[in-house]
């Protein structure tokens, strides 16, 4: 044993991967603004530009050659060249053309016609370029990645990205795909309110029951969390993935356009003019947060009009939306079995919580002054950065989240059969059994939906599956088991099989509002000349991680049971380990995998001897206690 340990010093660990030292960043990819932050030993730094600005406007301008300009500069171009600039793209992630909200009968986006066979994911025409929301979001993420790399002076390839808690599967998948296009490996998608709670919980050592009220540019979330001793347990969540500050802008813009119509008569607006109207409305909204009234000029075509607005009228315009947020809060609390009095504190997140009516209404409902001492525009990124550090460096904090929306399947008559109800802790897996309804039926169409309504067409369609290869049987004899699995990112995978025959039915996914794997790889290829290299590097890293895992396992086994081996056997294993160490140092993925396979073969006899010994010991009753105690040691490790 000693000899072997000398050959393989435990300290002589295989080559550290290059990415070990690499920092993972936290990104809040917002509707209006995005933020990137990094945490080191619990100290979070929100990364700023040369002008000291932390917020990157989520606005992208496209030059004629297709290159993207992101942020403040793009925002400035919005008024002069509205046709080649896009904003609030987050609202269209994982969405179809039918979800785009029009203003004055005109869409604020120029939408590409839908082609037969394509998924229903919306495609926009921006300055002559046809782009999906995923590609546009990827451009924003790339800008954030660049900012982080410039700041840290190193490559950044890992990130925690936040999403609204109420985002459905299509929206989450779209976000993850955007990150992939931007060359970022998503360590975890974290729900925005949960990230905010993490920032508050760790910063203020808050304990008890908290509500996080998150009203952003385009989305509203409310999460009810229990915080205690490093545990952040989400009990319930609710929201509206299409309700936010943008809707306030819409309401004001509508008001202005009505006034304009009264003065000038009916006028047709272009998509660009609609963008200008929304931009003006936003300035009015921001101004009325601190001022009581103001006047704005609206230029469209060759006509300029003047519009006055005071706080009281503004409040009337947005009252219905604000009331809706409180109604959702009430529903979440009631369903979880709580009253507003039970809530120890309310955390405000999102720029739209700066609107005075929102703040007043929230504090009135919960009966307490809300917490907003961490900048509501930055708190989510701060939480994301903390989680990024926790995932890479390690931590004692625990984030336990839930599914925001029920997941189900279409059954006879267009009804929904719920498989996983909302507010179920994730990760979760649940199976549902179905049967055939025709004799000899060999295929079955499965439609996966997400939402709370009873009818399929009232819910969000996620994907359609064709299950083939069911063995022909009498109607009702087949037992088809469909398993829904939601991972810690809140992403769903569906698998299916026939139980009586043991056949794993083939599942073919057609995402309703997403990209196929093929489209995705084309985009990857187009967007990065080195995409193939990146993919190869990722596979190489995976092979190394797996080989190191195998090597550590063999070392542990040798340490425990080395005396079961003959000198010759020990030498053979030692040689294979050396070969694997050499392979890991190289960059040939196949060589690493082959060496790992050889090591596995070389240790097979050893494994058998160890199992024999274990069973012998157990039968004689000698080692049970010893086993038990070492197991608990293992658990604590």
């Amino acid at each position: 044993m000693a000899q072997l340990l000398q050959i393989h010093e435990p300290g002589e660990s295989p080559v550290p991967h290059q990415d070990d030292a690499e920092m993972a960043v936290g990104i809040d990819l917002g509707t209006t603004n995005s933020v990137v932050a990094v945490s080191s030993e619990g100290q979070v730094e929100v990364l700023k530009d040369d002008d000291g600005q932390a917020l990157v406007p989520s606005i992208v301008a496209y030059a004629p050659d297709g290159s993207a300009i992101v942020g403040e500069l793009a925002k400035r171009l919005l008024l002069s060249r509205p046709d080649s600039v896009v904003s609030s793209i987050k609202r269209l992630m994982g969405r179809g053309a039918e979800d785009v909200k029009s203003l004055g009968g005109q869409m604020p986006f120029d939408i590409e016609p839908h082609h037969e066979g394509e998924s229903q994911l919306v495609r926009l025409n921006i300055g002559g370029h046809a782009l999906t929301p995923i590609e546009i979001s990827a451009d924003i993420l790339r800008a954030l990645k660049d900012r982080a790399e410039a700041h840290l002076g190193a490559k950044v390839e890992k990130a925690v990205i936040t999403v609204p808690a109420y985002f459905d599967d299509a929206q989450r998948t779209a976000t993850k795909d955007a990150a992939r296009l931007a060359g970022l490996n998503v360590l975890r998608l974290v729900n925005e309110p949960t990230a905010a709670a993490l920032a508050y919980g760790l910063d203020k050592s808050a304990e008890g029951l908290y509500a996080v009220f998150d009203l952003g540019g385009g989305t509203f979330d409310v999460s009810l969390l229990r915080m205690e001793k490093g545990v952040f347990q989400v009990l319930a969540t609710g929201g509206d993935a299409a309700l936010g500050g943008d809707d306030f802008d819409h309401a004001i813009a509508n008001h202005f356009l009505e006034q304009r119509k009264a003065g000038l008569g009916e006028t047709n607006l272009s998509a660009g003019e609609v963008k200008v109207a929304l931009m003006t409305a936003r300035m009015a909204k921001e101004c009325l947060t601190t001022e009581d009234s103001g006047e704005w000029m609206l230029t469209a075509g060759d006509k300029q009009t003047k519009h006055a607005l005071d706080r009281a009228t503004f409040n009337d315009l947005i009252r219905a939306d604000v009331k809706r947020t409180v109604k959702i809060c009430h529903e979440v609390l009631t369903e979880a079995g709580f009253d507003p009095m039970d809530i120890k504190g309310v955390v405000l997140v999102g720029g739209s919580t700066r609107v005075p009516l929102v703040r007043e209404t929230v504090s009135q409902y919960f009966g307490s002054e809300p917490l907003a001492d961490i900048d509501p525009d930055q708190v989510v990124a701060v939480g994301a950065a903390l989680q990024a550090e926790a995932l890479t460096v390690g931590s004692d904090t625990l984030l336990l989240d839930v599914t925001p929306l029920s997941l189900g399947l279409e059954t006879m008559g267009g009804l929904v059969e719920k498989v996983i109800p909302r507010n179920t802790p994730i990760p979760v897996a649940k199976a549902q059994e179905f049967t055939t309804f025709k004799d000899g039926q060999t295929a079955m169409a499965i439609h996966v939906v997400q939402g709370e309504r009873e009818m399929v067409d009232q819910n969000r369609s996620l994907a359609r599956f064709n299950l083939t290869g069911i063995p022909p049987m009498a109607a009702g004899a087949a037992h088809i088991r469909v398993t829904f699995q939601v991972d810690a990112d809140g992403l769903l995978t569906v698998s299916a099989g026939e139980d009586t025959s043991g056949i794993e039915a083939k599942v073919e996914v057609k995402p309703s509002y997403g990209l196929s794997e093929e489209e995705m790889s084309t985009m990857l290829y187009d967007s990065m000349a080195n995409a193939k290299g990146d993919m190869e590097l990722r596979l190489l890293t995976e092979a190394r991680v797996e080989a190191e895992r195998a090597m550590l396992a063999v070392r542990a086994a040798l340490q425990a049971d080395c005396k079961l081996l003959t000198v010759g056997e020990r030498e053979t294993i030692g040689e294979q380990m050396d070969k694997l160490i050499d392979a890991i140092k190289g960059t040939d993925r196949d060589a690493i995998n082959a060496a790992a396979e050889d090591l596995d073969k070389a240790t097979r006899v050893f494994a058998e001897k160890r199992m024999d010994k274990g069973i012998r010991d157990a039968l004689t009753g000698v080692a049970i206690d010893k086993l038990q105690s070492s197991v608990s040691d293992g658990e604590n490790a």
Partner: protein, 209 residues
């Protein structure tokens, strides 16, 4: 404690998937190489390290659940090899499944009846056709349909809540006395009452809007 008919699986050994050595079938981590193991096939109580009982101390359950999730949650395996990530997800999933059932009295009762009475009631509680329970449910539903004010709904809710509390106390006694048939009947009644609570909430939401 309740006598659940299970073998003592801790005496079983299985090879660790990572170092291939012997590892107790119920261990979360291999005691030799510390690799996370696949979830063992144990009942929900054993999964959380509890004795089977209806009288679950929810605070204690939470503590056990948090302690286990701290070790097994996929967040702890973000930089680990793909196999370990996948196993951690399966472990955390099994843990969530057990926790969901045990923290909810209705699901817990249903599960416990199934666990204890698998021989007595192979079909579970669904075969119980109890006229008095059906009558009670119909009466309650009629009352609910008549209720057109928040006050009336509040009264029904209070009444239902009291009934639920009574059934829970009775269930505790039934399980303690190994009265599986009785526990089964009470569980069925609890299902109706639980449904009733849900309907009261619905009516209230309707009335508000």
């Amino acid at each position: 404690m309740l006598d659940v008919n299970t073998q003592s699986p801790e005496t079983h050994l299985k090879p660790c998937w990572s170092c291939k050595g012997p590892s107790p079938a119920t261990a979360l981590f291999c005691h030799t190489c510390k690799a996370v193991q696949a979830p063992a096939s144990v009942d929900h109580f054993a999964r959380l390290g509890m004795e089977p009982t209806f009288d679950v101390d929810v605070a204690a359950l939470d503590r056990l659940y948090f302690d286990l999730q701290r070790q097994l949650h996929p967040d702890r395996f973000a930089t680990k090899a793909p196999k370990e990530k996948a196993l951690s997800q399966r472990q955390a999933t099994a843990l969530n499944d057990a926790y969901e059932v045990l923290k909810n009295p209705l699901m817990r009762a249903d599960y416990l009846v199934h666990l204890l009475g698998i021989d007595v009631l192979p079909e579970g509680c669904n075969l119980v056709h109890d006229q008095s329970i059906l009558m009670e449910a119909m009466e309650m539903r009629e009352k609910l349909m008549m209720a057109d004010t928040q006050d009336a709904l509040n009264a029904i809710q209070r009444e239902t809540k009291t009934e639920i509390d009574d059934v829970l106390s009775a269930l505790s006694l039934a399980f303690a006395g190994h009265d599986i048939q009785g526990a089964c009947r009470l569980t069925t009644r609890l299902k109706y009452l639980d449904k009733m609570m849900g309907e009261v909430r619905h009516s209230r939401a309707r009335l508000m809007s």
